[in-house]
Amino acid sequence: MDNLAIPPAAMRRSSLSGQEGGPTCRPIAGGGRFSLRLPPASRQPAALALGLDLEANINRAAVSGGRAALRLGPDEWLLLLPEAEAPAAALAGALPGGLYALTEISHRQTAIVLEGGAAADRLNAGCPLDLDLAAFPVGMATRTLFFKAEIVLWRQSETCFHLEVWRSFAPYVWELLGVIGREYAS
């Protein structure tokens, strides 16, 4: 049999492909992700090129029309963009000779959305942060831990959290969220 005659079925599969989820906890497939490192002098031209606010405080997310820049540290941003968007050329044009590092990590991570009145309680089963609204307001985004897995946690509304999980940790996080979810099943 001629194997080359069969066209390859190249398609992107999330590590949570096939998981349905429910109304309070579901995986999100697709999406583009970039890790951006910038010195302070490059911040303004980069923000103009990307159309995103990079001056937000550390641990805050700047959202603009379905695109988001999560500031994880003093010089580190996680860009969540539509899958087709490629910001490399725009950045290179805005920062000729400038110092920056842009790495595509779309396939390194996968996303999970946790919703509902008990979302914070469910997260706190494995996340050591204080998720009270006063300490972790809407719009806050930070790297932290969920049990033993590193995650990026972003509070999108009072009762809705977005989790970015490394793909190899995703089944582990998903399984634990399911176990915790049983306690809160109505």
Binding site: N59, L72, G73, E76, P128, L145, E150
Partner: protein, 89 residues
Amino acid sequence: MLLIPCPYCGPRPEIEFAYGGEAHVVRAADPRQVDDAGWTEFLYFRNNPRGDHAERWRHAFGCGRFFNVKRNTYTDQIEASYRIGETRP
């Protein structure tokens, strides 16, 4: 669990951090001028005080930054945290 004040992210639980040993251990500006005793002192000997201690921490599961903390090793009370390069309070 300690609540460690990261100078970039604010107070965070200890589990997010990695300990980095004693702070302010300075490598010689010209390493060729350092004799064996000097290298031994630099590489292997650290203070082990009962009381105030300046130490490095890294916010490994957070902003990823190294910073310094002044902690009392007897009471575990953290008096200050400050960025790398700033003088010890």
